[in-house]
Symmetry: C2
Subunit: 110 residues, 2 copies
């Protein structure tokens, strides 16, 4: 696992980008996908993920559809057009941040 400090501020970016790349997903699925993509290095906690999803939905960035799987309920999230813009913004912001950090730390990233 990563020193979790560095992860701060990246949750929204991660959630949005994963949703963009994989389309319609439910919360638990997002945690598993991120775990897989990060080779077990990023383990999203439910206490962080669900509030983040609710917030993005309230802001109109995500829309939801509820599905019954057996007796269980699944809540699928997908990007709205607004959400699609936000992904680009957030990813660009992150890449810009990395470029800056590369200069400050004088290291070659990527």
């Amino acid at each position: 696992m990563h020193s979790p400090e560095l992860l701060k501020g990246t949750l929204q970016t991660i959630v949005l980008k994963v949703l963009k790349d994989h389309g319609r997903m439910y919360g638990y699925e997002i945690t598993q996908r991120v775990k897989e993509l990060s080779d077990d290095r990023i383990l999203l906690t439910e206490g962080a993920l669900y509030p983040a999803l609710h917030k993005l939905e309230a802001e109109g960035m995500l829309k939801t559809e509820t599905e019954n799987i057996g007796k269980r309920v699944r809540k699928y999230y997908s990007l709205t057009p607004q959400g699609r813009s936000l992904v680009k913004e957030r990813v660009n912001e992150f890449m810009e941040f990395i470029r800056t950090m590369g200069n400050v730390l004088q290291v070659n990233l990527g």
Copy 2:
């Protein structure tokens, strides 16, 4: 300026690496150097910097020398051998984090 959320957790890494690259520096000098290296994108606040320096000193990562410049006092910080190890650790940690984020976000960083 960057969305400051992303900066969280990078302060120690920045301070240590800048001290490694430039040797003996005082607090205000560090803020100016980082501002310059980041092209005005990272502006360290005193409220964050000074406590961070004090903590690193208390942990034996930095040592200090006080100098009188006119009637003003300057506190110069430099890395201890332990501090030198920590820099490598922190920078490696950051690069590893970037690599992971590259995989999760499916983008080419650097």
